[in-house]
Symmetry: C2
Subunit: 351 residues, 2 copies
């Protein structure tokens, strides 16, 4: 089916991908979690300048391996923009870090960065705007409604500025006891697929979905013995089941999607990139799996740079190699046989 | 001297240059001259679709060699955007093709493309806006004033959209008899330097100047014997003089500048790139010198593509090699020791 796309969405989507349409993107937009992690390393509260510096160093040393870099407009952009190569795409986050909890405790609410807008992101040269939405379809109705509205609002603002909208969906335990549990592992496949389906609805105007891996590999029969982190767990499914979950996510996603790393170790992330790409993902948008080992080295700049230029770079190159099996953006059903909307001699007038 | 720059200007300037800050850019935004040339080849008036197709083919085959591509929003953008690699910068022209002549015949006036705006260019993903201004400082005062106003207007619009402004200045004979004459060759060095100085004034908010070579090499003692086009001419200056003219242009330009090809042959253009870069230019923005031999081949698509992939590509690579001697954008006085304007923890609020 032939698809039509607006000029800004098309041109900017192209800036995010490699020449074949595969997305090999780095995230360095973490705020809350990074502040906390650096604080632990320093043994005191971390300053604005320290967080900005950490991001700048990671960006400088790892951006050259990325087709696009996601950073944030608070600690990231101003101090790192000169370290993102001009021929690497740029995504900017628009959500406030963290979430607020509903009175009923049944759900997490997202808010947008105060004083920042999609229009500013576009003006500052962003090729896409990213929104992280914590989402559980069974949260309190008021929470679900709020999250849908935030998403629709960013979708409208992105459309008005003709800039691609990348939506990151992160599920969380509600009635389930905690993230690292057999119960939540069991719930994950369905949560990821349902959320992907919901936000593929055209009313949200999402261009790319950034999704969690739809299973916890640590709870698979094959990996449950502690291969990734030394901790033994029960088996809740097999890798063959997981392949099915990935396919279901791909069927549920009406938009091209990339896989996120959610802070898992590189070995585990590489398995998830393989499985996701096999099922139809268009690549990855990965932060901590690639660079998190730089955090404890922050107090020793030489060590930190040494890690980034060796292991960090190798982590990235492994992800890039895995993503060679990804489905090019332009082969996704929603973008195949693409033409520009209003492609007539009057395009420049009617655009 | 440390310089400050706004976010959109900085990020987008970076997208135009190679990783070292050198500009190796292709122009395929010709309209009037290209319509005419293709019409001659076809022996009839050329259609919109044919011009758009010619541009699309050139863009597809030569963009991969460019750090950035300049096209136009009428024939170029809509049909070519998918052929400009995402990691190649994009410039869009904003002036109507050609010019109108003043009643007094003393000067050329530029107008902007009707129905097109800087805001649209930015929304469509342009990394810079280009204005071609025919300019003669001794034209009728009313013409000079008009041209200055057009330029200031585009400068304001670019600043409002925080997108780089590339100004192309082309001199023309006024009292001088014609372009290819000893008189005009004699006038050129001064014309180019005076115009460069005028439009470096901060009130025009120009980021990059696209300048003519400040001499006619065919009228130099060394090249006057017809080396470039078989036609013998008188000598009006020497190459050593020309070196001085280039230095004067560099001193007059308060902004980084690139050299344009104005349709000269590739051999002559390569000499001008060498001399311009030696004097301080940051690279080139070149169209016809690279691809004009594709025009007569338009009726034979296979021949045309054959030329573009062999000689055309080699022309480009020769220009790129010459531009390795260019002064990186970031070493230009106006951009050295660069920092982002308002680089504080509040940047995202105040931007």
């Amino acid at each position: 089916m032939a698809a039509e796309i607006s000029a800004g969405k098309l041109r900017n989507l192209m800036t995010l991908a490699d020449e074949n349409g595969r997305l090999k993107m780095m995230a360095i937009d973490q705020r809350g979690s990074l502040n906390e992690a650096l604080g632990k390393v320093l043994g005191r509260e971390v300053s604005f300048d320290e967080v900005a510096e950490f991001k700048q160093i990671v960006t400088e040393h790892l951006s050259p391996y990325a087709t696009a870099v996601l950073t944030d407009p608070i600690y990231g952009y101003a101090r790192s923009v000169q370290n993102i190569p001009g021929h690497t795409g740029l995504l900017l986050a628009c959500e406030s870090t963290g979430y607020t909890t509903d009175e009923s405790k049944k759900g997490r609410k997202t808010s947008l960065i105060e004083g920042w807008t999609v229009e500013k992101a576009r003006r500052a040269g962003a090729n896409a705007v990213k929104l992280l939405l914590y989402y559980h379809p069974d949260a309190a109705p008021e929470v679900v409604q709020h999250q849908k509205e935030v998403c629709a609002r960013v979708g409208r603002d992105c459309a008005a500025n003709d800039v691609p909208f990348l939506l990151e969906l992160v599920a969380y335990p509600l009635s389930e006891p905690k993230s690292d549990s057999a119960e939540f592992a069991r719930a994950k496949p369905d949560l990821v697929a349902r959320s992907a389906r919901e936000f593929s609805d055209p009313r949200y105007q999402v261009d790319i979905l950034k999704l969690e891996f739809p299973a916890d590999l640590k709870y698979t029969k094959e990996y449950r013995t502690g291969i990734f982190d030394g901790k033994e767990r029960e088996a809740v499914y097999s890798l063959e089941d997981v392949r099915g979950f990935c396919e279901k996510v791909n069927d549920s996603a009406g938009r091209p999607w990339v896989i996120l790393s959610a802070g898992v170790d590189i070995k585990e992330f590489l398995v998830s990139v393989d499985l996701a790409c096999e099922a139809g993902a268009s690549g990855f948008l990965c932060g901590r799996a690639i660079w998190k080992e730089a955090i404890p080295l922050y107090t020793d700049p030489e060590e930190m740079v040494g890690f980034l230029d060796s292991e960090g770079a190798i982590n990235f190159l492994k992800c890039n190699a895995a993503a060679e099996a990804a489905v090019p953006l332009w082969e996704h059903e929603s973008l195949s046989d693409l033409s520009l909307a209003n492609d007539t001699p009057d395009w420049h007038r009617v655009y």
